[in-house]
């Protein structure tokens, strides 16, 4: 098989440079410079132009063929997010960054000669002493000898901050026949995003603003009425 493949690739009738670029020209993926070269060659070589017409036919049929393959069912997405749920929690990448930085620092110090290292250490010690002196001077100068008490300003209205209200969320189960394209369209139309998934249920968040209880109830009713939704329950 390998030998056959080699023979195939080493066949004497290799394409010319411009001829080899024709398929990429049809797909529009050549650089401007190469595209110009191919255009010029097509203009002066009718044989090449005939081949290019054939290539454009192949190009169109390949696209049609691929487009006819459809899209995966919701099963693939459910399987993926279930698998992601089952994944062990990831450690934050900060630790990796820190170790990379410390390795870089170690490499830097290792690259210094003992003499340079001694001078660097002395310089750092001197900087620390000067810094301590400055901080001490600033503290002594600013000591007022009286207390500052936290107090209420009567010029501002007294309000009680309740914190930002969270946008509504719901647990949703999609119908088994729902296709990913349908789910994506539904998410778009409701301005919803998937927060997490568990056991075939999706936790969705709707928009960025909080809603009243009635609005949430209306939203759930509307969701429940969707053909591809088999269950929708509001959740905190």
């Amino acid at each position: 098989m390998m030998a056959m493949k080699k023979m195939l690739e080493q066949e004497p009738q290799a394409p010319g440079e411009i001829e080899a670029m024709l398929p990429w020209h049809a797909a529009g993926t050549l650089s401007d410079r190469d595209a110009r070269r191919v255009d010029e060659a097509l203009g002066r070589d009718p044989e090449l132009a005939r081949q290019y017409a054939v290539i454009r036919e192949e190009y169109a049929e390949t696209i049609d063929l691929n487009e006819s393959l459809g899209a995966p069912s919701a099963r693939a997405m459910q399987k993926l997010f279930t698998a992601i749920d089952a994944e062990p929690e990831r450690k934050p990448s900060a630790s990796r960054n820190i170790s990379a930085i410390s390795a870089r620092i170690s490499r830097f110090f290792a690259s210094l000669s003992p003499r340079a290292l001694t001078w660097s250490a002395s310089l750092v010690a001197l900087v620390l002493v000067v810094q301590a002196g400055v901080i001490g001077a600033v503290l002594v100068k600013n000591q007022p000898g009286s207390f500052n008490v936290a107090s209420l300003s009567m010029n501002e209205p007294i309000t009680r901050a309740l914190g930002p209200e969270a946008p509504p969320r719901a647990l949703v189960r999609f119908a088994p026949e729902a296709r990913v394209a349908d789910i994506t369209a539904l998410l778009d139309s409701y301005q919803a995003s998937i927060v997490d998934t568990r056991g075939g249920m999706f936790r969705l968040q709707f928009g960025n603003k909080a809603m009243t209880k009635d609005e949430v109830a209306g939203l759930m009713n509307k969701l429940q009425g969707e053909k591809i939704v088999s269950l929708a329950v509001a959740t905190p």
Binding site: A14, A20, R50, V54, E58, T62, N66, L80, E87
Partner: protein, 166 residues
């Protein structure tokens, strides 16, 4: 992950279907591909487009899936593919449907030729990107596509369709 999946899953699926010729296997494949992406997101260096990275992983997984199949099954599949080339285009010619015959012949190409045709025409990948996905030199990408097109012309010729090239 949701955005990445939403943007790329259909093309990844179609690339998988064309390689493994089985929708169920291709669906399993895309779950595996995106799970790998989830696990290895930190390794993506951004030197190539995300779609190129995804297609390279899909190709690797598809070839592994094909290797896992029993030899007998592969032989049957190859036999079916050969039947496709000899019979269906003839039927298509009888119907004077060149377009349909061309599609049948595109389906009947070898996996190596199929993938390169799809990557260039459908996935709109440059020479450099195809070289990265398939893992071959750029010049080989060009010659392989040239021979894939010649094979396609041969299949059509065998089915009685002359297109003026080669």
């Amino acid at each position: 992950m949701q955005v990445l999946y939403g943007r790329h899953h259909v093309r990844v699926f179609r690339f998988g279907v064309r390689l493994v010729r089985d929708e169920q296997v291709a669906e399993d494949l895309i779950s595996e591909v995106f799970l790998d992406v989830w696990r290895q997101a930190g390794k993506f260096e951004g030197r190539s487009a995300v779609s190129t990275w995804l297609l390279a992983i899909t190709r690797f997984k598809a070839l592994s899936a094909l290797r896992r199949r029993k030899d007998g099954e592969l032989d049957d599949e190859a036999a079916n593919a050969i039947e496709d080339t000899s019979d269906d285009p003839e039927v298509a010619v009888q119907k004077k449907d060149t377009s349909q015959a061309l599609r049948k012949c595109l389906t009947a190409l070898s996996p190596e030729h199929r993938e390169i045709v799809d990557l260039v025409y459908y996935h709109e990948k440059s020479v450099e990107e195809v070289a990265e996905i398939v893992g071959i030199p750029e010049n080989t990408v060009k010659t392989r596509l040239f021979y894939a097109r010649k094979k396609l012309a041969d299949l059509l010729k065998a089915a009685g369709i002359e297109r003026g090239w080669p």
